[in-house]
Symmetry: C2
Subunit: 334 residues, 2 copies
Amino acid sequence: MTATIRDVAQRAGVSVATASRVLTGSRKVSPILAERVNEAAAALDYRHNAVARALRRGHTNTVGMIVPEIGNPFFPAIVEAVERRLQGTGRDLFLCDAQQDVAIERHRVHALIARQVDGLIIVPVSATASRAALADIPGSVPVVQVDRFVEEFAADWVGVDDELGIGLAVEHVASRGAHTIAFVSAALESSSALQRHEGFERAIARLGLPSDFPRLLGTYRAEWGRAAAIELLHSGALPDAVVCGNDEIAVGVLGEFRRRQVHVPDRVLVTGFDDIRFAALADPPLTTVRQPHEQLAAECIRLLDARLADPQTPVQRTAIAPTLVIRESTGGAS
Amino acid sequence: MTATIRDVAQRAGVSVATASRVLTGSRKVSPILAERVNEAAAALDYRHNAVARALRRGHTNTVGMIVPEIGNPFFPAIVEAVERRLQGTGRDLFLCDAQQDVAIERHRVHALIARQVDGLIIVPVSATASRAALADIPGSVPVVQVDRFVEEFAADWVGVDDELGIGLAVEHVASRGAHTIAFVSAALESSSALQRHEGFERAIARLGLPSDFPRLLGTYRAEWGRAAAIELLHSGALPDAVVCGNDEIAVGVLGEFRRRQVHVPDRVLVTGFDDIRFAALADPPLTTVRQPHEQLAAECIRLLDARLADPQTPVQRTAIAPTLVIRESTGGAS
DNA sequence: CCAAATTGGGTAAACGTTTACCCCTTCCTT
DNA sequence: AAGGAAGGGGTAAACGTTTACCCAATTTGG
């Protein structure tokens, strides 16, 4: 069996209180005894039991994070940034994947809550169907939503201003001469899909562009981009530009256009959203709306800590303005 | 304060034992009392405290997983497969990211061990420098290494046969007429880099191909692929084929070649390793060595459970044969 | 030099569960 | 009808820590 603090205390000839004190440094202990305790701990290969400690202390020094789908490269990027922020605060991040399924997402919430995480960071799968999961979080545990949010649910949120982001993309392709613009994105399930769609409609209206070109809504994946590209080609009238809801879709669109010899950007302009690692490596390199991961993560942890410090803090929603990164898929810089 | 089982018992007018029994279903309880307990639990919004439960029961129903870098899309793919396998076994997966740093990796191991995970799945950062981290895992907790392993360390492993995989790639490009072949991969730090390098050398020797073409070793990232491609171009004699240590590198190589108008596959053949999501979307679509995620995950859980059932089980290392996926970057099918 | 404060040690309660053990009914079995 | 088994309830110990509280010894201050 693995050694307990009791064993350590016994071997060192001190009380468990003393052992605990030297092991955690919670109070001063005479150097002689401290030395003995440390020796005993080393000799017994003692590891503290964080479960017992958490039970007694009432907190776990753990924050849980749930993302909709870890396979979507945007989320790992956010996770890495959050992890860096958490570094050095003495807390560990445990990551869970909801597999794009609100039932699994809810299960993850329960698992994390049961394990008494000190806080929860979540990118909700759905703007509406994730409400049940979020609602199961007791008021005593701080939650912050990142990137996506649940509608009409009172919890902190930090993300990019999706409407503005899509607006940048639309304005950019318009400035490059595009008049007819199609929109390929994910079904209006997640808040980001909703907001980006909204942003597209508004931008089109604002610029007085024709609004009878297709909005194709599927999933945030490249396969969907491919399929949508085919649909656009079959529909006859190819638009001047295709604004995509994220980079994966855009990469799929690019791939299909390439396969069918539709030249980008000469024949069609294409834009993405997120600026994932692969965007710059696509062919042609993808013009996209960059999400500032580090800022998002920083704000996320700030919100979490604020709520941790004072649970009564009013709910905050922080929208950060994204920036446009111009690459070859819309004709390149200049 | 959140309600405890004591509160539930009190409200239901039963003992905590009875409450616990109905809440966990561990023993039969009369329907009348069971009803009362359930009502009380619902009324108080009772959530069981998994920390207390784990302390008492001695296990957590949690398995921990540590990957070198969650931003490398190969790992999320493995994670997803593992998660699916774990589904329905009543255990939850907590994922941690080592950020390619053995010190952080070791910290993650400690964090997970302290929290009493029932098992640990790890993709070690380094074949040598990760030994310290692995050595810190007490013998009482089952560990299985996936994809990569620590040299001369007695712990289960499951992965793909890297040597064989690279062999497939080399043989394939050779069969397409490549005579001079360069190898672009990661520095010989991780076991996969070591094995793939070894596989390359052996295949070259076996086929009697010239061995004086460059081996460029950097990182498993696209930027390195770009840099290596530039190096190859500057070195004068461009090889007939470039075999890459993973898909990200290959995508970088492809990107740079495209930018410099070096045609793939007409001028150079390029292969990758892993078959990540983007491999098929690269330009041209990438010929690569496919890792069978589902099989890897299945074997991983099998190993973990075997060791859980009997800690004395002899150490097993399972190498699964990968398959070659032929795409345009080597001339396409047929 | 005495009172007060400080230091450094120990005892035991508490955190929230689960479950071994005990006890009282009730129901079979012969 | 007696004996035993089975069913269903409760009490309390245990899991491994941390820490409030207590106490003795020492130091400090006037």
